[in-house]
Symmetry: C2
Subunit: 524 residues, 2 copies
């Protein structure tokens, strides 16, 4: 397998681009070719041809493929971590952890496939002598949607990029995948794509089961979204990017689902009892969560809401002190750094918003300096822009005069990925309505934690109402993400031998099924 | 409860409309007022206020409400059937059956709620001593989307209208509902709405849990889709109508899901062995399915494909004979009758399409005369319009020269609700690829049946890829329809007392849950 297999070849390479080392502030030397419309089309066509074969592979076969991808990623060794560090500025330990998470995700989906019950097999057996009409035999299960397009994210160059969560869930569902690599880490993308292709070859998967296209311009992504053979899109990134893809997909002659995770400001409500009990600890915890990964997480807490009180002022003083001592970190790209600086500038120029603390800045090309800002509830409620995500290590503290204003803030929120309550048991009784309000606003509600750190497990919801995502009915993290790439099909009066194994009488895969209303592993 | 509670009142009733008796060809006398934009907004606002209360009702309470709706529908007695007959032209027996189905659907969702496991409760318990990071307690379940808009269908004035499947599934999920009644049966809609409201009152449901708006113009529906408090749309009807709603919903500042079931032509493939074995019976079965309900079913088989052979000609002769003897039936509305006649005219004027048989027509205002048309595969493949739905009692027989052409037809299909194979066991072996092709095209695949007659059960999929629906990931018939109106929420580190009952340690509802990867009813 040579490198030329990774990228569908282009006839006339017209445009090239390079990675950037944000730590050194230097362009890297390797040139990458932007994929032409023909190259994108060729990848989609190969994905369609491969889909005919891949979708009929057993769950165990797909599981082998996913696990093998993980092995091939490990086989990339230190070269992957080194190159990814160069391209992303992320520290070695973080990238090692992220590699572990990436492989963990692949293995988690492999386990899901081996267990097999995810297809939601549901059987209603025939009643030939039912009056007035006989009842047919009906059996339903989930099948794969088709070839899908996955966009790599800048902030998780391993775990939400080429072989990341979206790719893993789509491949698990039985979809073939065309990845649009993120231009911020083209070399990393190329290495990861090579690993996926080696795994595909080793596990006898069809040519085209996975391919990658490259590009800096939005045209490459649009070509992918608009290709008629592509049946769904997975994306993690900005609101602007995600919404543009969503709109393009809705405009297609055949509209397709777009799962765009577009981030949010993840409000944290610090209730009076919690402030009293552990205000100082919360200051430290908040600062850690806001600046983790230089604030470049979708679940970064960008809004903190509390009611005026002596304890609130103490908490704020402590938080100010902590923020003042924090150092700037290296952000992923110059564009992200510029957007962060611009966002902070816009906030600080907003009437009624003040800067409480600025961390220790540095002169590097991509330095992101921690910021703690403050406003009051009246200003916030009158100026919705304050609630817009500023991607980076900053947060806005909103002071409410009392419970009423705090509840008004909660009620006025649009969709977010998460919301957090810092609360004592007494707070939770007094603010029970707050939980009910926030349930409608987010995909994940936390009590006494911080929203960064998204556990990869069956019960995770990394999603939420618009504009956090374009599809609140799903999650992009955890095993439930597989449902984004599947749909139900019902088989009526099929002879047993023609049914998929999941629906055959003998239950050869020994999966959980709903048979005539009863959940069971029994045969029929 | 008086009639004025049924329709949100309008300040300046500007436009009225009346029902039409398609059998007699006469306008009915009762005048109905078209809902103003203010009336639609008021209904949405009431639905939002009610949602805050309704979504916290227990499953058992919602089940009581749904069952009570069924009882109140029965309490409408013969008056409902009589009025519905007048407005729809459908026969008494059919409407009695449809009433039974409507109540059956409500009871089915009530049973689903009482059982309770539909919320897909998934729990991953904490691992405080996990290295390098402790694991939080995470618990996920489905909650209701919010107030939703449901559009009544013309062809199921009871089972897919005011208190029909979409309303039942939305109310079951915990959504409040604003129905846009279909203008073809305004009186029936009004009676049914009154029944729902009586049930709401009897079971102590909040004011606004259900309301209805009326109108002939598309503006009323658009007002509903565009209202910011409405969070999803259910629709059954034409491609034009459904696609317009889908587009409007995607254009909203906050896009929302639209579940539009837009019908299809439901291809039937009659394979050589089946033709040989039972060609004559198939002729009778096909004619019955095509003309059932005067062909006014979304699953009406509008395309029949077979390969040239002596047996095929015999089958066709027999089908021609049967169709020639069929009588015209009364279609639902003059508009539907005109669209049917126009569709037939367009088909007969298409080069390469011929009329094999015309049933016995009548002179009534809404008479729909059965038509059997014929074309060949070459013409069909070159003229995709032949495959467009003609809503009514007609079907197009497509003669293929051999297996290759038959497979080309299958490959070229867009999305349909159903596809059917008439096949012997030997056919199924020889045409195994055909099943694989059709799986990608439809929501339901049948062997040796006919697609009309949609069983209401857990395993049903009444849906399919675009343009059959705007969301292939769902079904509008059967218990799985509840998932259209819900989304997952994850609770992290919640004290047991603050969790919804479904997720509490003791499993007080005794539902099936996935706990740390194991499906169980055990407590935690």
């Amino acid at each position: 397998m040579t490198d030329k297999n990774i990228l569908t070849e282009v006839s006339t390479p017209s445009k090239t681009f390079r990675g950037f080392n944000p730590t050194k502030g230097e362009w890297l030397t390797t040139e990458f070719t932007e994929s032409s419309p023909e190259a994108v089309a060729a990848a989609a066509e190969k994905a369609e041809a491969a889909f005919l074969i891949y979708r009929k592979k057993t769950g165990a076969e797909r599981a082998d493929f996913l696990q093998k991808i993980g092995e091939e990623i490990m086989n990339l060794g230190d070269a992957l971590i080194t190159l990814c560090q160069e391209e992303s500025g992320l520290p070695e330990a973080r990238l090692q952890g992220e590699r572990g998470r990436t492989i963990g995700q692949l293995n988690m989906f492999a386990a899901l496939l081996r267990e097999g019950s995810w297809v939601d097999a549901t059987v209603d057996t025939a009643i030939p002598d039912r009056k007035p009409l006989p009842k047919s035999d009906l059996r339903r299960m989930n099948i794969a949607l088709g070839p899908v397009g996955i966009f790599g994210a800048s902030n998780f160059p391993l775990a939400f990029s080429v072989a990341g969560g979206d790719t893993a869930s789509a491949l698990a569902a039985g979809c073939t995948v065309v990845v649009k690599g993120h231009p911020a880490h083209p070399g990393t993308s190329q290495l990861m794509a090579a690993a996926v292709l080696r795994a595909a070859q080793a596990t006898n998967m069809p040519d085209g089961v996975f391919s990658m296209v490259h590009g800096q311009s939005t045209a490459v992504g649009m070509d992918l979204v608009e290709h008629p053979l592509i049946k769904a899109i997975g994306f993690t990134g900005s609101y602007r990017g995600g919404k543009a893809l969503f709109d393009a997909a809705a405009r297609r002659p055949e509209p397709i689902p777009v799962y765009a995770e577009m981030g949010s400001t993840n409000p944290v409500f610090i209730l009076p009892g919690a402030l009293k009990e552990r205000g100082e600890n919360l200051a430290q915890g908040l600062a850690t969560s806001v600046t983790m990964g230089v604030g470049q997480f979708c679940t970064n807490p960008g809004l903190v809401v509390a009611q005026q009180s002596t304890e609130a002022e103490k908490f704020l003083n402590k938080t100010t002190e902590v923020f003042t001592g924090l150092s700037a970190g290296t952000m992923l790209t110059p564009t992200i750094k510029q957007a962060f600086d611009a966002g902070i500038q816009k906030l600080t120029q907003t009437a009624g918003v003040s800067v409480l603390a600025t961390g220790i800045s540095n002169e590097s090309a991509c330095g992101g300096t921690p910021h703690l800002l403050r406003t009051d509830a009246t200003t916030f409620l009158a100026t919705p822009e304050i609630g817009e995500e500023v991607f980076g290590p900053s947060t806005v503290y909103i002071s409410a005069t009392g419970k009423e204003e705090l509840m008004a803030i909660a009620n006025g929120l649009h969709g977010h990925l998460t919301a957090t309550l810092q609360a004592t048991p007494e707070d939770l009784v007094e603010y029970a309505d707050l939980v009910a309000i926030l349930e409608r606003k987010v995909g994940r509600l936390l009590i006494n934690g911080f929203p960064t750190g998204v556990e990869v497990c069956a019960s995770m919801v990394h999603g939420g109402p618009f504009p956090a995502t374009t599809d609140a009915r799903t999650t992009s993290v955890g095993t439930a993400a597989i449902y984004r790439f599947s749909r139900p099909v019902c088989y009526q009066d099929f002879p047993d031998s023609v049914l998929p194994a999941e629906l055959q009488n003998s239950n050869p895969l020994n999966i959980w099924r709903n048979v005539n209303g009863q959940l069971t592993k029994d045969k029929i």
